[in-house]
Each structure stands twice: as C-alpha cells, then as structure tokens.
Amino acid sequence: MGYIPHTEVERQQMLAAIGVTTIEDLFEAVPASHRFPKLDLPGPLSEMEVASEMQALAEANEHAGDFAMFRGAGAYHHFVPAAVNHILLRGEFYTAYTPYQPELSQGTLQATYEYQSMMCALTGMDAANASHYDGATSLAEAVTVAVQVGRSKRNKIILSHAIHPQYREVVRTYHQGRGLEIVGDEATASLEELSELIDSDTAMIAVSYPNFFGQIEDFAKIVEVAHEKGALVVFVANPLMLALFKSPGELGADIVVGEAQPLGVPLSYGGPYLGYFATRTAYVRKIAGRIIGETVDADGKKAYVMTLRPREQDIRREKASSNICTNQGLMALAASVYLALMGRNGLRKVAQLSYHKAHYAADQIDKIDGYKVWRSKPFFNEFVVKCLKPVSEINNALIAEGIIGGYDLGQDYPHLKDHMLLCVTEMNAKAEIDALVDILKGLA
C-alpha cells in the first residue's frame, strides 16, 4: 500500500462518480500495444526492511563520521550546529514548494531574503540570488551574465587553471552550443599571463579565491586590466574564507560565485549543495534564477516576494537566458540558519580555527623529509604537499589508520603527479593532525 490511503470501498465509489468500472479504463488514450507493462523491480519492502537495507549500504561507506577527514577540494566537512538540522526537519519548510503564492510562503521568502542579505555581507556585493544548483553551475551562469553584459559581442571567456577542474568542465558543458571561446586554463598560466589574454573581445575572466590549491593570489593587477578592457571579473570564492579575508567586493570583483556547502550543509556525497551568486547593482537584472525582493501587501505590511520574474523561463520561455526554475531552497535555508547561529564572530572563529590548524599541519608536514609544502603564497585551509610516493599509496596507508587523506592532484593536473591537496578544518583536533603527521613520517 505504500503511502496510498484508498480503501477498496472508496475506489469503487470514486470510479462510480467518474463513470467507469476500473481504473484501467482511465488509460484508454495510452496505445493498447504498450499499456500496462510489467515493472521488473524488487520489493515491495516494509519500512523497517528498507531502513535496515539502507543502513547496511550507508555503513559500507568510509565517511567523516567514522574517519578523520583531511580531504576538501571543493567539498568540506565542517561542524554544523544541531539546531540547523532541527529547523530543516520542520515539515513547513521542507514540504513546501517554490513560493509562487507569496501569501502562503512568507517563511521561505523571508528566510531566502535573509540568505541573500548575508551572502551580500560576506561577498561585499550589492545583490545575491536565491542560489543555483552548486558552485560549478553558478560559475556557468556567471558566464551567461557576462556575455549578456557584453551584449553578446564579447565572446572570450578566460578561466584560470586554478579554478576547480570540475567547475571548468561544467562551464564547457553549459556553453558548448553557444560559440564562446573559453580559454586560459589549457596550461598553468599565471595571473600575469592570463591578464595578457584579456582583450576587447573578452566578456569575463574568472579566478579562484582561494584557488584550487588553497592559495590566496593577488588579483589587483588582473582586476585593473580587466576593467580597463571592459571585461567583468568573476571570483569563485570559498564563502567561509570570506569571514576572515577581504571580500571580493573590496578586491574589485563584479560577480562572486561559489559553493556555499561549507555553510551548514553536510558532505552528502556531493549534493545537494548550493551555488551562491552575488553581483553589483549594475548587473542585477541579468542574474538568472530566483531572486527574492522586499515589498508590501495590500495593507502596507512589509513582505517578501519572488521578483524580476519576467526574466524567468516560465514567462520568457525561449527568450530566457537560463532554463533554471528552482533554487536549492532548503540548502539556502540551511545556510541562512547556519550563518545566523554562527554570526559575525562565530563564523570568523571557524575560519580562524581552520586557518591555524591548517598552518600547524603544514608546518609539521613540511618538517618531514620527503614532503614539501607549497608555501610561496598565503593559504587558507588547504595546501599542496609534494610527496615522494603516489598519493593513492599514501591514502591507502592512511585509511587503514582511520584517516581520509588528501586529494590526488595528479588526477586533474598531470604535472602534479604525487602532489596531495590537504584540507584542515575546525573538525580536525590536534591529535588527529598529529596522527596524520606521524603516519606520513612513517611513510616517508
């Protein structure tokens, strides 16, 4: 019976009211040749059997609940206060739909408006949308905005190779049909080299803050050149870092995108996460996706509503710049609750803990013969270690000791074979870091 409430008596009453004898009669328009195929699926199972089967699957994973986690590379194991999940579990939030009817959706609308406001505060931008699917698709949508801002006359998109490799892949997936020239990341171009690519055909240049290697680069020059040439500068930024370091707005960004998963969303094997998107007032009306604005009701009471709807696909149809018609609503709520709980000083403290612990780990590892930490630039909570052995070998040794080691950069950057990207957060107690260091020492 699953979750269907009908009894046999009711079915008969309903069929009689409709004027048919069986439910099957209602499917007369389906070609008879293809009607009522068998579905070869296992089951059905009771709730307790499903729970037991799925628990076994879950326990087959090596996860951050059981292992010390030193892997980041775009997805981060941060502390999430218990209150976040308690609020997310309220049916009023998670079983609601898109707030198309604002009179019955002020909860979702105000929470999203607060999310937008807090993302503006973090990024130093004037406006944020209600979120995209993830950081990668936010970047892809930023490309669309930049092309529009350039009135579709600027076709060059410059990407730093130090942006998350998967983000760059997604940009290419999204824009494969649109005749853009996506360049800059074919090799390991420096920022200086990238800035030489900027020309009057350039719609935008995107950089990463910190970059995929955890480093904080100096963007002053490239911002200057881009703005001189009329190109937009897009920052892909880790929002947690922004609690401590200068905002992209202060550094000259025109659009800031990124993955807001570090703000209260669990790892969940890669999703659902949420891509944030913030920009300056000038470009607000070009943003794709949902945006919540303030207004008043018929009595003059302050209230919130989805606004700039005429940009969206359900109204503009083929003239819309994006087909997106959801946001990551519940994840935006999670970020909203998380940021409210952390507040100004809490979020900063989390960033500081991550920073200091990462630097402690880097210092200790750098001392070991056979490991070399990249230290030419400042870093936040991730850093690159050059090893003497394959990273997979090191990680196998670590997992046997209850530690999930760093990300193998050689997978994406052939020249970085035997380079490991380690991430340290507030979740890593000193004892865990020391254990990591000890094992690495033993492997050196």
Partner: protein, 495 residues
Amino acid sequence: VLEPLIYDISVPGRLGVNLPELDVPEADLPDDLLRDDLKLPEVSELQVVRHFLKLSQLNYSIDKGFYPLGSCTMKYNPKLNEDMARLPGFAFQHPLADEAGSQGALALMYQLQNWLAEISGFDGVSLTPAAGAQGEFAGILMIRNYHLDRGDTERTKILVPNSAHGTNPATVTMAGYSVIELPSDDRGDVDLDALRKVCKEQGPQIAGMMITVPSTLGLFDAHILEVIEIVHAAGGLMYMDGANMNALMGQVKPGELGFDVMHYNLHKTFSTPHGGGGPGSGPVGVNEKLKPFLPGPIVDIVEESTEEDEAPLYGFVMPEKSIGRMKAFHGNFGMHVRAYAYIRVYGGEGLRDVSRHAVLNANYIRAHLMDTYKVPYPRYCGHEFVMEGHLEGADDIHALDISKRLMDYGYHPPTNYFPLIVPEALLIEPTETETKEVLDEFIDAMKKIAEEARTNPDLLHNAPHTAPVKRLDEVKAAKDLVLCCAPALPDGGAL
C-alpha cells in the same frame, strides 16, 4: 511586520553557538589580506530557533494540507526518506572519497540507475542532473552531440508544442538551438497536420522534439506513436519531459513508445521533498543510441564479483562521448537516497498503483467540478487536469481570484495561468496520497467559491483574508528592487 529580520534582532557580542578553543599554536595571519568588518547578525541559539519556527509557520506545506499545484506533484514526502538521507554513512560521505570506500553509495546509485531505466524502458540513466531543467538541458545537449557525432551540423531546431513548460523552449535556447512552436489540436493533442507540415518543410534542420507526456493539460496524446514516428522519420530524436511521470508508472514505458531520451523529476514522481523550491534532482534516461552521450559520471560495475554472494566493485565511469559534467561531483545524492527508499517501499506493482491512484484522484475531482467550471477537453485526464477560472455571471472574476480565495478555505491554490493555451487556466493535480475525504472537501470549496463569485465577488477580489499577508505589490518589488537588507548594525559590523 510578521517577524523581524534576523538582522533586526542582532545585538553586538551575542553568540549563537559554542565553538572549540584553538588547540594548536597560532600561525601568523597576513594582516593586509584580512577584512575589517563583516555585517552578519549576532543572535543567540534560542533566538534563531524562535525566528525560524515563526517563519516556518508562515508557510503552507504538504504536511499542513492539500496542495493541488498542477505539474508539481505535491505528494507526501515520507519521513523514512528523511531519516535515510541523514544516516551518517550517507550524510558524511565525501564526494571525492576513494571509490573503494564508497561502495555503499555507489551500489545505491547503480541500483537507482537501473530501476529508473526499468520504470521508463530506457537503456541507460545518468543521475547527475540537479533538477528537471538541468535534465532537459542534458537531454537536448545529448541530441545535439548525437547529430554532430554523425557529422550532421544542420539540425539546429527543436519542435516544442505550445502547451509545453517554459523550461522546454528555454532549454532549447541554452543549447544554442532554436524553437519551432507547434500548435495543439482541439482535443489538446499535438496538431498532427502541423507537425507533418513542418517536418516536411524543415526536416533536415530538425534536431528533435520535446514533448511532455501526459501533456501539461494532463492529457495523454492520443497520437503519440504517430508523433514519434513522424519526427523520427524526419531524422529528429524524441525528448520526453518526464515531469508528469506520476501518471505513467506501470501504465506505459516511454522508452518502449519510442522516446530516445527523457528526464525524471525525483522531487515529483519519487517523493523527494520540494524544500521550498529545491533541491530537485533530474536524472536522464536514454536508449542505446544516446547512451554514449550521457552526462557523467555514471556508476558502473568496474569489477565483477568472483564469489557468489559478494557484491561487485562499483565505480564511476565517464560515458565515451559524454556531453560532460552538469555540475560538480555526481548529482544530488541526498535525493537519490530518498528516491531509492521510495522505490524500495513500493516495488513494481506498488509504483503502478501510485500512478493508478494519482489518475483516479484527478479524474474524481474533474468529474465533480466539470458541471461547475469549464473543463476544456472532454476526455479522461491523467494525473491532473485543467479547467478555466472564469465563470458565467461573474465576468470580473479571474483564475487568480479563485486561487487566492482557496487560501481562505485552507488550501494551496492550483497552478494558475498555465498551460498558456487555456484561458484563465487552473491546473489541478491532487496526487495519490490524498484521501477521498480531502478531495470531497476541496470539491465543496470549489463549488462554494463559484457561488461566491456570483453573489459576492469582492470576497474573491480581496482574498486572501486569512493568510498571513494580503495580496502583495509585486510591481513595487520589481521597481524598487530591494534584494538585501542594509543591516542596521550599531557597530557597522566591525571585527
């Protein structure tokens, strides 16, 4: 105000969370790179809890009542699924964890791929798209890459019926294609003559067609096999928008009808919660022809098991000619977990029952309301039906007025003004999880509103009367464009 903004209850120095002390030596901080203010609120944990509890109460939701929002499939979201998604082994699994240490998650995704393929009669499924709209986009990109791979660069147009969701034409544009809009005939189906004509005239330019089954009118196109045949004959591929799959499970398999590709909405058909507008999940299914083009990665068996009772080794693979990645990592895994639980509870016959009862419920409401409201197409509907929200003898009453008045009766309104081809459309989708009593009460309310429309139209014009707010000034919102609050922090947010 109903509830102050979180910024308005902020007090400098207040903390909402207990954080650990630093247990390692402090490192030097690069002072010149640090910011000196951060305009975030400062509130206590209890304040946060009360704030969001209050906000939650301003929402309507499935857990609260009937939500017949057409084309959105607002069915019950089982509590079991929420618990499953929160199991530590799922919630705390890193997306870049070694595959050897992710076999539970991979096995789950592999099964779900296969089950979704079986349900719709396809040969391959990718779970990566994050929502229905992304699934559509992946689908059209696959069609595009299929043609290009064959060396056919002329096909740049996609047929889209005028009843389609707005996402369909928008998707076509995103893929760099253009739209040919097809008219509907007077039964609400695709106008076959028009289709034949356009295929004849522009055949070599037609990359494919996007069609929703049942249509957004809630109708199963009576000529669907002909439609597919005509488009295929012209060299185009057929994309099925699976948004309305809740009408079809166990009734017909789109792959068997001849569709080449479709997307699933896990947040509609497979009960994952809508979350106030997301996250969704929009897997795509394809036949053999398009399998090499699936967005990646997908899960496959990378090493068969040697022992009888042993599981094989699963891993991610990138399909040979993949259109690429739709997002970072591998889709909205948390939604895959929920859909897995849902399918597991029902099994094959159970899912057939889901669609049977979804269709039963829709036809039941339709049968009771067709004498009161104009129901344009005299046919049994699928899981939803459309009717017109204006009434004889109440000329100044619009679909919007009826919708807002329904709020006073305790209901979420149906979708209104869509599909576009029906004037004053009200699109009603009850789903299978609603009881007959709920439907009966809703029918009564709709009839009462029809009467009120004639006897006391202002009651409708000024509705809602009992919602937390009255109708909103949407023009002001778009004109003044206040998208984030200027936080009134006494210390300016100084760090």
